[in-house]
Subunit: 326 residues, 2 copies
Amino acid sequence: MGTNVWNGAGRRIHMQEVGTRDGLQVEPCFVPTGDKIALVNALSRAGLAKIEVTAFVSPQAIPALRDAEQVLREIERAPGVVYSALVPNVRGAERAIDARADELNLVMSASESHNLANLRMTRAQSFQALSAVSAIARQAGTAVNVSLSCSFGCPMEGDVPQDTVWDWCARYVEALGARGVTLCDTTGMAYPGQVAALVRGFKRRWPDTELTLHFHNTRGMGLANVLAAIDAGADRFDASLGGLGGCPYAPGATGNVCSEEIVHALQLMGYDTGVDLEQLLEAAHRLPALVGHAVPSQLVAAGRRLDLHPLPADFDAIRERALARG
Amino acid sequence: MGTNVWNGAGRRIHMQEVGTRDGLQVEPCFVPTGDKIALVNALSRAGLAKIEVTAFVSPQAIPALRDAEQVLREIERAPGVVYSALVPNVRGAERAIDARADELNLVMSASESHNLANLRMTRAQSFQALSAVSAIARQAGTAVNVSLSCSFGCPMEGDVPQDTVWDWCARYVEALGARGVTLCDTTGMAYPGQVAALVRGFKRRWPDTELTLHFHNTRGMGLANVLAAIDAGADRFDASLGGLGGCPYAPGATGNVCSEEIVHALQLMGYDTGVDLEQLLEAAHRLPALVGHAVPSQLVAAGRRLDLHPLPADFDAIRERALARG
């Protein structure tokens, strides 16, 4: 009976950090450039497989990431770690390539309504713009990953048909030759059965394409979705240090799944995440001071499973009184 | 490849509400008796399988539940719902039986340190006291459930050996004839691989004993643990409306898994929880007014997966401008 997903048996899972981009971009305060660089360096040392360092967007649109060039140029690059940057257009791609991004992350939505509301373009227009970005990346020899928002549902339209997801994946993988695709659960609508089906479908069609799953914990299903994805063959996940990154459609709700929570859980199950949890947690504990508020991470609040608590100060007296009662 | 735990296929899962006891007992304010009764009645109507209504403890020790008799006497009892009450001793058992509890819930810890720190008795003393309670319940024809705290680890001792858990289960099931056992993850130390092993071990030894799993979401593994338990053969879970109920060893951390989050997830996966999620959510939305603060429930914050959001007010203009760009 049952599966072996609960027992990782040393299987490799690649953890990708998105907090420095997806998390910091929604913070109202500007995190100083030196602190951002120190944070990325700490994440590199902790053993993350990929770090989405920043976004090359308009500084007017997202002032929190207006130091993208400097951050990407000045981080210490650890061997084996992929340093990715989000780029929305040709100008952003040129800037990111110039600052030596290992990978450009391109974003559009599987939902027409969400793409229009969020990016002010139709999906067809997004594809056209990102085709141009892709051409520039190819010329520069820089890898491309495509993040498909709302792959598990749209907060305005509801369910997104699987065939719609496949259509857009096919264009990027087959027509543009993207190295990787990220199926994004942008507003936490994914659930395990759906995740397993989508991962199996993707792996069947594009077995050689790097597949990432990007879950939000908006409705408490983040870790369960990660496990359903692993059970269906996925081995690469986005997560955000401290659980940084909100959800604009659910004020007060949790956003991205939390890096240290996912690593903690996967390590207990025997997966090889390549991550030094202690270093990751140290970085997470420094986050509240950086962003000026508490972070959603439950591991920051509660500690690891075996971070034990002392006995009560009067424990010996309690025991003596108990034993005296016979 | 993979399991079918992600696809419930109509399998029955029994959901048991503990918020009215485990949640309310730690609230600093006293929830008026009439409101407690209305809450239990709403939970009955929503289709919970069992409700831990209250605790018959010393009113000095837990003033929040000083109205235990009145609540248990005055609730409307729905056919098929089991109304349970926590009792720590003979006096509590007599009061609970007198107020027509369907089931007495007896608590001790699998960890000696936790039992002493929490109950001021050795485990042997607890067993002796609960044996007397059990005898009274048998005389009265009232069912007994035993909740074994720290079955998945102790916040002071660390791992609790499986054999220790089996020893105490054996005493209650085989020596005292308890109808049910709840393995409690009192401080959120359980993880899926461990859960699957413990559930399989219990079902093998005591296939006819009602087994409940009581998880906390302290480290974000609550739903994953529920699914690992289901995969290993469990079908009965405690949960708390709104996620009420803290964790004294992790201030700020989440306590009990949240009833509406678990029901929402299990229903999406095709399990039959017997619960009307809409009614459950209505009750959860009334909780903040009852307890005077926000509740941890992410479903209260974010709504159900398909509770859609309106398009932006200027959506038509956005689309027209986009299309005008060609």
